[in-house]
């Protein structure tokens, strides 16, 4: 049995705005084991970035507020920690890879120093040792001529190279948990694949756990062990990659799968979209937040929030469709055809 690294229980994050209190994260729970990758998927505004920032306690307070729940890293709850205690956790135990490598690096500081300052902050080693380690890290993330690159400024790097530098910085103090907030969104597709390969490679070498935030299900299938689908500040479906891709239960997950272009599986219909837009989280709707956009919504969806139903040992979904009394609703035909395709492909690959 693998060791549990991170446990998030019923996390609630609110933001105070002039319009009212935005309930950005409404009771999120998940756990992460050592060496595992958890992907958090959802559309813009679903609370995935807030969740990831909350784990590092990077939510500015005010306007942010930890309204409840706990974040346990190796059994220690991070929420009551002071800024000073937290600064020993950040970078050292948990590190973050940001979305846009063009803005994540300080434009006026040499790359080398941006790496060594993390090492020097968290480890008691000399500046020259830190430099050696930084150069090794640059080499590890695949930057050619690391000694020369060490002395350069961010504007002398391309986007993909900068993201590699950001990853090197995140790895500098050898963290146990890496939070990657849409690390490939700002990169073009060929570079995306390289960065994903690099992250998988690093995970294999170092046994780092990764939380991978993304809105791209294609990326998820590639990197994740487990997937949490978020909608309106809550996790609506949670399971292994196989659970989510081969046996999705939540209509929102169907919608996400259906809105992914699929060139292989003979899906001859137009690309599906999920109608409507996410609910206003200042006044979260009564009942299931997804109900107004859900073509399978039942009367109860507008009345009462569904609980997490357990589908299998690893698979949970938050929809009334799983209630024993609910009418049996089959996965839409176009989705099921995709799933068959995925399964065949998986078998083909062995």
């Amino acid at each position: 049995m693998k060791k549990k690294l991170l446990e998030v229980n019923d996390l609630k994050i609110n933001f105070k705005t002039y319009a009212g209190i935005v309930q950005a994260v409404r009771g999120v729970s998940f756990e992460l084991f050592e060496g595992e990758t958890l992907a958090i998927v959802g559309e813009s505004g679903s609370g995935k970035s807030v969740t990831s920032n909350a784990i590092m306690k990077l939510i500015p307070q005010p306007p942010g507020l930890y309204a409840g729940g706990e974040i346990k890293l190796e059994g220690r709850n991070l929420i009551p920690l002071t800024e000073k205690q937290m600064s020993k956790v950040r970078g050292n135990d948990i590190a973050m890879i940001f979305q846009d490598p063009m803005t994540a690096l300080n434009p006026t500081m040499r790359i080398g120093r941006q790496i060594t300052e993390v090492i020097l902050k968290h480890q008691k080693i000399s500046a020259s040792e830190a430099k050696d380690r930084a150069i090794k890290l640059l080499d590890l993330v695949g930057i050619p001529m690391p000694e020369k690159r060490f002395k350069q400024f961010p504007h002398e790097f391309s986007g993909g190279m900068r993201q590699r530098v950001v990853i090197a910085i995140a790895l500098a103090a050898d963290p146990k948990l890496l939070i990657a907030d849409e690390p490939t969104t700002a990169l073009d597709v060929t570079i995306q694949a390289q960065i994903l390969e690099l992250m998988k490679d690093i995970q294999k070498k170092r046994g780092t756990s990764i939380i991978f935030i993304t809105h791209d299900l294609g990326v998820v299938a590639n990197v994740a062990d487990r997937v949490a689908v978020m909608y309106a500040g809550q996790i609506v479906e949670y399971g292994t990659v196989n659970d989510i891709f081969y046996n999705p239960k939540h209509p929102y997950t169907w919608g996400l799968l259906g809105s992914m272009p699929d060139l292989k599986n003979n899906v001859k219909e137009e690309l599906r979209t999920i109608p409507g837009s996410p609910p206003d989280l200042i006044h979260p709707p009564k009942g299931d937040a997804f109900a107004p956009r859900n073509e399978y919504a039942m009367a109860i969806d507008y009345e009462e929030e569904p609980p997490m139903f357990q589908v299998s040992e690893t698979h949970f979904a938050k929809t009334w469709l799983l209630h024993p009394d609910a009418p049996a609703i089959e996965v839409p035909e176009s989705i099921s055809r995709r799933i068959e395709g995925y399964l065949k492909e998986a078998q083909g690959n062995g």
Partner: protein, 309 residues
């Protein structure tokens, strides 16, 4: 870099030429003469005086003379203070103005950046309101009122500083403060807003996610990037300190250059006008050049045109 500086030096020469020409014609257009304030004297004496200083020549000869004087950096004898050359006046009083100016600039930059950083760090909390209030007061209260108030309270009532004069470092504190506070207010406002802008940027968040403390993030990361607008302000700041010092020098009875700069105009002291104008112009033009070079020092993305790595 050298090529760039050379190019800029050529521009400075062109600018100087234009300034000299404009000053010369403005001077000639203004009615009166250097000797107009003297007691009435017979026209023969005036003719003699005009001949002595070359004022009887046609304007183009005079213009040429001024240009030659300027190029040789010998502005000739003052027309008002007999027997004193303009160069003497400048070399005597400029070091005083320079000391005062440098002190004022250090004070305004130091104080301004400090207030701005504090205000940004404690955004919308008490220290922010306090710093912003000080900044707004500094901007809106004219320096001569401030000078008077400081003289009365700090010097006369509390006896902390000398009221006026110029006999040592102690004497320079109040006038330097009086010049500095307005500019410090501007710099504080600039620093605050650009620090707040930087605080929302990704790389500051990244620096925080590295586990750096609040102050290391500010000093190592956000401040340097936030300083760009402040650097831009350094040009006008130099001009403001140089010209603003005139009033303050009057109030504190400081024998600086600012006084000569202004009185020479009312006296129609042509040689001194030309000397001080050219001198101030050189300082300001070089200040602007230094600011432009500072940009590329602070931000490596800015490459000076014509500069080679």
């Amino acid at each position: 870099m050298l090529r760039y500086i050379f190019k800029r030096l050529v521009y400075i020469l062109i600018a100087l030429f234009i300034i000299i020409t404009a000053t010369f014609f403005l001077m000639k257009l203004a009615p009166g003469s250097p000797f107009a304030s003297e007691r009435d004297f017979p026209p023969q004496i005036e003719e003699q005086l005009n001949a002595k200083y070359g004022l009887d020549n046609p304007w183009y000869i005079q213009y040429k003379d001024y240009l030659v004087d300027t190029v040789s950096f010998d502005f000739g004898e003052s027309m008002k203070y007999k027997g004193r050359s303009t160069n003497d006046i400048i070399s005597e009083s400029f070091p005083i103005s320079l000391t005062l100016g440098i002190e004022a600039m250090i004070l305004s930059i130091g104080l301004g950046i400090f207030l701005g950083v504090v205000a940004a760090l404690y955004h919308n909390k008490f220290p922010d309101y306090l710093a912003s209030t000080i900044a707004v007061l500094g901007i809106s209260v004219p320096s001569f009122i401030l000078a008077g108030l400081m003289q009365y309270f700090l010097a006369f009532k509390l006896d902390l500083f000398p009221v006026s004069g110029w006999k040592g470092f102690n004497y320079s504190i109040l006038p330097a403060l009086a010049i500095a506070i307005t500019h410090a207010g501007f710099i504080a406002k600039l620093t605050r807003s650009s620090m707040l802008e930087q605080a929302n940027s990704d790389y500051v968040k990244m620096a925080r996610s590295k586990g750096l403390g609040k102050w290391s993030v500010v000093i190592r990361h956000s401040l340097r990037n936030a300083l760009m607008p402040v650097i831009t302000y350094l040009g006008p700041l130099t001009a403001g300190v140089v010209t603003g010092s005139f009033i303050i020098e009057q109030i504190f009875a400081i024998p600086g250059l600012g006084r000569h700069f202004v009185t020479s105009i009312t006296n129609r002291d042509y040689t001194v006008i030309m000397g001080t104008t050219v001198f101030y112009s050189i300082i300001l033009l070089f200040a602007v050049l230094v600011v432009d070079i500072l940009y590329s020092v602070i931000d490596p993305r800015i490459k000076l045109k014509g500069a080679k790595k």
